[in-house]
């Protein structure tokens, strides 16, 4: 996964001189998650800019540079620091095109690392994706495979709109095939990651990894789960979800964030609104328990969604 993201950045920087990177420790250090390792030596300090620890300045500056024609990729060391720059992410970038009657474009990408499971404590472990997906004007992408990460990030950099690109802190080691040839993946398209006929699992990012494991286990018990990976939270592509649901009539939604007001709430509502006649069982959500994530490993893991939770939920909707 890490390599796929690095490749996407490098290919786009080679392709378009307007692309540059800015963020905390992206340069000399090589990125706190090593995604931009070697970039500083290759592209130099003008294109790989180490910033002060000042999230408003980082995202604000990326917006300004994008408005005047550059294509900055701003890195937030973690998505938890996005709250320090909330005005820029939700109140500036997504509004500028619309509010000025289409006069400004903000072709900026914000890369942010989210997710729990690394014992970083409550302030550094969140999966607040749904909050950002609430705002029209922002695109929110969160891939679950290396192939998707590369193709979607390249497309995000080429997009004329602001894109929040959410990676997961525990997924950089994930392995997967990445096409050799040049490719991009359109933003706003969900994808069937595993075909099945008995139940629909809707998920994205870390939830995909867990759901694939759960599906393997369920297959051993004769249950074929179809997994739809949202990949983009806004704009949300419900078509493959509805298509699958109309076939299976049962769904489980898996996300790492808190259940209340979350991605699962949105997806379930849309299924009820648009495919109510096909509902054979209440749609269930597997999500994070409603607590700030604790440091202790056992406690933390018990708060995060796990494979057995998904297996149990699937069995429940199939009862």
């Amino acid at each position: 996964m890490r390599e796929a993201i690095s490749q996407a950045l490098m290919e786009e920087m080679d392709r378009d001189p307007a692309v540059f990177i800015l963020g905390e420790e992206v340069g000399v250090w090589g990125g706190t998650y090593a995604v931009t390792k070697g970039f500083y030596d290759k592209y130099g300090p003008e294109r790989v800019k180490d910033t002060p620890i000042a999230e408003n300045a980082i995202i604000g500056a990326a917006i300004g540079a994008a408005m005047v024609g550059q294509r900055p990729v701003a890195e937030l060391m973690t998505i938890n620091f996005a709250f320090a720059a909330m005005d820029y992410i939700v109140n500036q970038a997504p509004k500028l095109h619309y509010m000025f009657g289409g006069q400004f474009k903000v072709p900026m990408v914000i890369r942010a690392v989210g997710g729990g499971g690394r014992q970083l404590g409550a302030t550094h472990s969140q999966t607040p994706d749904a909050i950002f997906a609430h705002f029209p004007g922002l695109k929110v992408v969160s891939p679950g495979t290396p192939e998707d990460a590369k193709g979607l990030l390249k497309q995000a950099i080429r997009s004329d709109d602001p894109v929040l690109f959410i990676e997961h802190a525990t997924m950089y080691q994930v392995r997967g095939d990445v096409p050799d040839e040049e490719y991009t993946i359109p933003i706003g398209k969900s994808k069937i990651q595993r075909p099945g006929s008995d139940v629909t699992i809707v998920t994205y990012c870390k939830g995909l990894e867990l759901s694939m494991k759960a599906a393997d286990e369920l297959a051993g018990q004769g249950i074929q789960a179809e997994i739809i990976d949202l990949r983009t939270l806004r704009p949300l592509d419900m078509e493959p979800v509805l298509e699958s649901f109309k076939k299976t009539n049962r769904a489980v939604i898996v996300e790492e964030g808190w259940k209340s007001y979350g991605v699962g709430a949105e997806v379930a509502s849309r299924i009820y609104e648009e495919a109510f006649d096909y509902v054979d069982a209440p749609i269930l959500r597997v999500a994070q328990k409603e607590v700030p994530l604790p440091y202790n490993r056992t406690l933390e893991q018990s708060a995060l969604p796990q494979v057995p939770d998904i297996v149990a939920a699937v069995k429940e909707v199939l009862k």
């Binding site: 910033t51 000042a54 408003n56 005047v68 550059q70 109140n91 619309y98 006069q103 400004f104 592509d237």
Partner: protein, 321 residues
């Protein structure tokens, strides 16, 4: 500055005054909604400042932006139409009073979150520095914006990266109804620039020629690659913070005292002393009045935006539904 250019500045100042007086009337009639922050009293700042820029220099400002828009060359018709929320407005009626813009005229917006546009201004300057051109970004803001974190992050970044940005504080002495003394740890805003080793100057903002001279010097200093500069203009708004301000925070005598130093009156006296005939100045005032009235007529006659505009321009690109 040549006499003709000075007369043009006089015209711009009077145009701002007359347009905003008309806007206030339209607001009272319920034809303008939302907030309406008038620039009356502060005209010399924006007029002198923007007269000193080159065409390639970018201007970005806060929500008290009608005057700035006019000085940047946005026609009064479009400004007035935006105030009325019409399709012919600068932002197609979707921005309103606080969101005038026209990038073709290098007016990069009125911005409504206090201090929010300062890091964006750093970014615009960064974009130009990255492109290797010699554009200067001129970022205007009020005294109130210097107490919020955005200001400090933006100034620090501009100095660390030596960005081509001119910071312009319009110190009208009140952030809404709270005076500088009650809100800021230092009474001279320019002192805050000292903390970032950004050269700075405090200038009389009621005298348009003093504003012009200080701005020209500062803009060219920035353009020469010296990094950021901060100008603090001392000025005063004659009207409330926005329409419907009860003005409990200042007494009438204070306002009257400042009105004696009306920037338009000061400039008129200066021009008269330079032997400009009263008749010439009167004609300019009449022309400004006519243009303001025409703008109102244009705006009132303009169409409302189509309802389909509601969903237009959310994204710059087509999105999959």
């Amino acid at each position: 500055m040549k006499k003709e250019e000075q007369l043009e500045l006089y015209y711009q100042m009077v145009l701002i005054r007359r347009s905003e007086e008309k806007a206030a009337e339209l607001y009272q009639q319920g034809k303008i909604g939302g907030f309406l922050h008038l620039y009356i009293g502060q005209e010399a700042v924006s007029t002198g400042l923007i007269a000193a820029r080159q065409p390639q220099d970018r201007v970005i400002t806060a929500y008290r932006d009608h005057g700035v828009a006019l000085n940047c060359g946005i026609p009064a018709n479009e400004v007035m139409a935006e105030l009325l929320g019409k399709a012919t407005g600068t932002s197609k009626g979707k921005g309103g009073s606080m969101h005038m813009a026209d990038p073709a005229r290098n007016m990069w917006g009125g911005h409504a979150i206090v201090g929010g546009h300062l890091p964006i201004a750093s970014g615009m300057a960064l974009g130009d520095q990255y492109a290797g051109n010699d554009n200067v970004t001129i970022c205007m803001f009020g005294d109130g914006a210097t107490n919020i974190g955005f200001f400090h992050e933006a100034l620090n970044l501009s100095k660390v990266w030596k960005l081509p940005v001119l910071w312009v504080c319009e110190n009208n002495q009140y952030g809404m109804g709270t005076s500088v003394e009650r809100a800021s740890a230092v009474s001279e805003i320019r002192q805050k620039a000292e903390g970032y080793q950004i050269p700075n100057e405090r200038v009389d903002g009621m005298d348009v020629m003093k504003v012009y001279e200080a701005s020209q010097k500062a803009i060219e200093w920035v353009r020469a690659g010296n990094g950021p500069y901060l100008l603090e203009f001392i000025t005063y708004r004659f009207m409330g913070h926005s329409m419907g301000d009860p003005e409990r925070y200042r007494d009438k005598q204070e306002v009257e005292r400042w009105k004696e130093g009306d920037p338009i009156g000061i400039f008129r006296k200066q021009l008269t002393a330079k032997k400009v005939a009263a008749k010439t100045l009167d004609e300019i005032e009449e022309r400004a009045m006519t243009d303001a009235l025409n703008a109102v007529e244009f705006a009132e006659a303009s169409p409302e935006p189509e309802l389909s505009e509601l969903f237009a321009d959310i994204y710059a690109e087509e999105v999959h539904k």
